[in-house]
Symmetry: C2
């Protein structure tokens, strides 16, 4: 788990005080910020000192192993080593920061470590500062990376951040659509895990709390306010913690297929799929549609229109490969329920 | 925060696998177990190896700094250093294990470190395995110790356990009264913090979850079962996490006075006080009394009968000294509401 957690409005201002004891002589701190913040006033509040560097991360696409390797290589060439990596942004930036930190101290390519417990050495000191709430990447034990052969994280005990700073003020500026899609990542995760077959009281407690907070924000409230930011940030944290002993389900399994072929981002991809899952999550989909309408969000449709048979095959292959997700959702006999044909029909609807 | 958390029925069996990488040559692991387990079958499941030692901790009274110092001194004399300390028991044992671990690597007496951020060096590797649920000591940043001049913890970043093992099977055997009193520590904490003036969304989320789990166990259920153990263990964990940004209130402030003078243990002390706090927590006390009745628990009364005026003065002094607790409960003008006279009347009722 993350060793140090600070939560509070304005806690971003404690960043210098927090990283100062971790500065090593001659080794800068690297601030990896979502390119969204390129000319945002937040940048002026970053405590840049000496050789410290702000890198604007290109998160147009979700992080690739090649991008992680390139960033780590450039830092090694320029500085030898660094005192730490501070990620400031959404889920993609969180995952990039975690992966770059690990690759500063591990040989080879990040693609070599996609899997479980393959990472050999701890990374450099790493701090996560989320500016979007919902992914849970700030507390998770993984980094989702697209590699040459798979989309899979570097899951390890070395992967979680050493420190996270949860400042709900930082999410106030996010575009409403983006905020909704990312918040729904948390909501959908909760529906999938709480109705799934893999669950214990630890994950159930966190999942129920995250779900309730999502409902407070997207169902009960009539407009977005500071409390919405406070609550959604806690929902994301609790949702991330609940992953420890639970698993996602149909929406995530199908959305990975979309993402692999079309590059559809995780949050919106889950929404596109959830929109058509009445059969699997009747109550959850009903509430999801209510939240979409109430929050005046448009969920794209027709995104698989015109794709070739071989494209559908690719998506089905990726999706069918997510065995634990299907087993969690549909039980040990899932292959009898979700055949390639029924999955093809589902992809056609999206 | 605790870096490594394992939750699950039967997870105690993973103890050897978990501690093995932390064993240092020639330095034993010390298992500090509540003396309750002296001839309990759990003892045979402790993975004792080589020079490892099981010490039965005398928790008749809550931990004293003198006892912590004595245990650490004996271990230093016998072994020089140890690979780790594993605490197995309730809140007192958890606190003892944390304090002994710290005193293996810090000079002087544990009384020197009662306060905030006074501990200088990390302790030896420490593992907490609770066998009673409710105190939150398994996740807290403190150890409550009775010293020569004060009852105060060693609050520091070095205090939390490195690892906790949350195995709800271990709480199944606890005596029903003890289980109730300790569970109420969590319930009362939640009532105090959720109605208090110090609270943010982080602590509120955890506090609400802990409260709901306590209600599931003590209000909704008609008998004790495995799910009760599962839920109360998560309630304790969530209650402990909620302490980060919240504070307790009247019940704790008054119960510290009892404990200081009479040695009343924390769980039962809180219950004795809560029984008479209708004025401060009307809803909470009503529900508390319902739980007492439903669970057929006897709360002692008349414990301050026959005490001298100077005894009452001592209890009032200790209790009035808990400024943050009173301020949390009654606001900045608390001294106008809770005078020495009204506190005297309250102590007389107990």
């Amino acid at each position: 788990m993350v060793g140090y957690v600070v939560y509070g409005r304005g806690s971003f201002n404690q960043l210098e005080e927090i990283i100062e004891p971790h500065r090593k002589k001659g080794a800068p701190v690297i601030f990896l910020a979502d390119h969204f913040f390129n000319s945002h006033p937040l940048i002026n509040r970053i405590p840049v000192d000496g050789k410290d560097k702000i890198i604007f991360a290109d998160v147009t696409y979700e992080p690739k192993t090649t991008y992680v390797d390139q960033l780590a290589q450039e830092l090694k060439e320029e500085f030898g080593t660094v005192s730490g990596v501070v990620g400031i942004g959404g889920g993609s930036t969180m995952d990039l920061a975690k992966a770059v930190s690990l690759m500063m101290n591990n040989p080879g390519s990040s693609a070599d470590y996609q899997g479980w417990d393959l990472v050999k050495f701890p990374g450099v000191y790493k701090v996560g500062i989320p500016t979007l709430s919902g992914t849970g990447a700030e507390v998770s034990r993984t980094t989702v990376l697209t590699g040459p052969t798979k989309k899979l994280g570097m899951n390890s005990d070395f992967t979680p951040f050493d420190q996270i700073i949860l400042d709900p003020e930082l999410t106030a500026d996010a575009p409403a659509n983006q905020r909704f899609y990312t918040g729904m990542d948390c909501y959908i995760h909760c529906i999938e895990s709480l109705t799934g077959t893999y669950l214990n009281e630890f994950s159930k407690s966190y999942g129920e709390k995250a779900l309730q907070l999502c409902r407070d924000v997207f169902v009960k409230k009539d407009s977005w306010d500071a409390e919405s930011d406070d609550k959604l940030m806690m929902a994301s944290y609790a949702g991330g913690m609940s992953i420890a002993y639970s698993q996602v389900g149909v929406a995530h399994a199908v959305s990975y297929g979309l993402s692999y072929l079309l590059g559809t981002k995780h949050g919106i991809g889950n929404c596109i799929v959830m929109n058509h899952l009445e059969e699997y999550y009747p109550e959850g989909v009903k509430e999801f549609k209510y939240m979409v309408e109430k929050n005046k969000i448009v969920i794209p449709t027709g995104i698989t229109k015109g794709l070739s048979d071989s494209d559908f095959e690719k998506m089905i292959n990726v999706s069918m490969g997510m065995k634990p997700l299907w087993e969690n959702a549909l039980g040990p006999d899932w292959e009898k329920i979700m055949t390639r044909e029924s999955l093809h029909i589902l992809f056609e609807k999206l």
